[in-house]
Amino acid sequence: MSAAIRAERLRKVYPGSPPVAALKSASLEIADNEFFTLLGPSGCGKTTLLRLVAGFESITGGTLHLFGEDIAHLPPEKRPVNTVFQHYSLFPHMTILDNVAFGLRRLGKPRQEAAGKAQEMLDLVQLRDYGARLPNQLSGGQQQRVALARALAPRPRVLLLDEPLSALDLKLRQSMRLELKRLQRETGITFVFVTHDQDEALAMSDRIAVMSAGEIQQIATPGEIYEYPANRFVAEFIGDANFYQARVEQVRDNGATYLTPFGTRLAGPLVEGAEPGRSVTVFVRPEKVTLTAAATEGNLPGRVRDVIYLGDTTDYRITLEQGGDITVRAENHKDGRPLANPGDDVFVELDPSALRVLKE
């Protein structure tokens, strides 16, 4: 079985003066039956990549295969791929049922059959009784579900979702996440999901491609992306992190040891061009650091500068005595009291295994 989507050095330049390279060079392989997410800030090229797969834009360079077939020159209607649009894009002059049956009708299904299938899809997205209404008589969340039903009705081999949840409010967004995941499991269709929301990406995806400035930064599972980001961009974009400069102490065959600014040693992967004495970036997630009042050996003394209350947790910005800052994220006391107040002298406990070396 070949990959659902295989892109090699895919490139898109929008003509103009100057021309805009929305996608510089993207290579990726998406497996059949996968929930794959393209994650990145706006303008990173994720939507462009999606539109190239859908066929809305012509590719400037590279190759694009769908289940082994070269689709680069096929118009959208010849690709077994359907899209859920960010702003739903329901046909305003057609009823909900006609909207959902649209693709099936164009594929040559008789009216009766198409209507029957469309009704099934409406049942699936829990809009059984809405078939006769017009799109503008539905709420945003309902319209989104219709858009989903419409794109799924022709049973595409790949479903593309372009930030489908971004126009919904938080609660609805969270319940739609579960629903999307359920639909993907039930239908067995490959989902390619575009979003700028890291929580969405982490919660739903089998794998994530983090994109920035027209290039793919890293492709990995949510856990890998969070724990072992490929570079500083990924580490910063997903979750929060404290960054420090460490020094290469010793290079070995399959790794290196690094001297951290906290006087500890850290064994890590080999960084490109590593030689003793060179500086590398290390980081630690704020929730992996703890705040303590005990002056145990190895704990770092410092003073609390800011306390930022976040509801379930609190962020403490601490100025370290040795110089530099660190942010510690800690759960609140059961009674809601903060662990420390601005101006308090505290100690920070930093387990060496929580520090990670960035490869780039």
């Binding site: 012509s58 020159h73 118009p75």
Partner: protein
């Protein structure tokens, strides 16, 4: 690559239709202008460059008289119709005490919805019935009525695009109703009023049918004079006069477009 810049919205052939359309639109006008500089009497065979027809046209007393009439009529009708249209547009957009607004806006649009020939004979009949005979005055009245919707449309468009909160802000800063109108609304509305006035002017100076029916002897306007020349036989003199009118129209439309775009 076969289709390097494929845009899925583009429909084949539509670009050629558009090109042909613009040729169709401009070719006759280009011919008109080119042959106004023709040395011979022929209006279609080119025999060398000359500006004689322009001098002949300007030296022609009838043309000068007709042009003067046209200018007087267009200026007066422009001022009158623009004033009426501005008042109506302001009242309909800002005065909340007026009820049945669609009736009033429909009434203002009426001269635009009637085929011109109907307006023309109706006005003629009316003037004859009440025995009105004011020379150019008759034409001015008829043109003013006909120009009101043309002046009204750009003003209303401008008012709709205007931020009403600016006026509220002025009132909040102790400006009375008249001060608000004078200091805020009218200055902001000025581009709309100006383009409305220009459209009214062009409509009046170009009008033919209404003028033809309503004009009394001695009140010949430029279009009426051109019409009589066209019927009598074609000389490049018409081309010369027409080119001048064309340039005036383009100037006015271009200007009103620029003003409308600004700010």
């Amino acid at each position: 690559m076969k289709q390097a810049t494929r845009d899925i919205r583009i429909l084949p052939g539509f670009n050629w239709v558009t090109l042909a359309f613009f040729l169709y639109l401009y070719l006759p006008l280009i011919i008109l202008v080119v042959f106004s500089f023709n040395a011979s009497r022929s209006a279609t065979v080119w025999e060398g460059f000359s500006v004689d027809w322009y001098f002949k046209a300007f030296a022609n007393d009838d043309i000068r008289r007709a042009a003067a009439n046209s200018l007087i009529i267009a200026t007066v009708s422009m001022v009158a119709s623009t004033c009426i249209a501005t008042m109506a547009a302001l009242a309909l957009a800002r005065n909340r005490r007026i009820r049945r607004k669609p009736v009033f806006s429909g009434l203002i649009m009426l001269p635009l919805m009637m085929p011109e020939i109907v307006t023309a004979v109706a006005t003629l009949t009316f003037f004859a019935a009440i025995g009105l005979s004011l020379g150019l005055g008759n034409i001015i009245i008829a043109h003013t009525v006909f120009c009101i919707p043309f002046a009204y449309l750009p003003i209303r468009a401008r008012l709709q695009g205007m931020d009403e909160s600016l006026e509220t802000a002025a009132q909040d800063l102790y400006a009375g109703r008249w001060d608000t109108l004078r200091l805020i609304t009218l200055p902001l509305l000025a581009p709309g009023i100006l383009s409305g006035a220009m459209l009214a002017f062009i409509i009046s100076i170009d009008d033919f049918i209404i003028t033809l029916m309503v004009a009394e002897a001695g009140s010949t306007t430029l279009p009426i004079y051109i019409y009589s020349l066209v019927r009598l036989g074609i000389t490049p003199e018409i081309n010369a006069v027409s080119t001048v009118l064309l340039i005036i129209s383009i100037l006015f439309v271009g200007l009103s477009y620029r003003i409308g775009k600004k700010r």
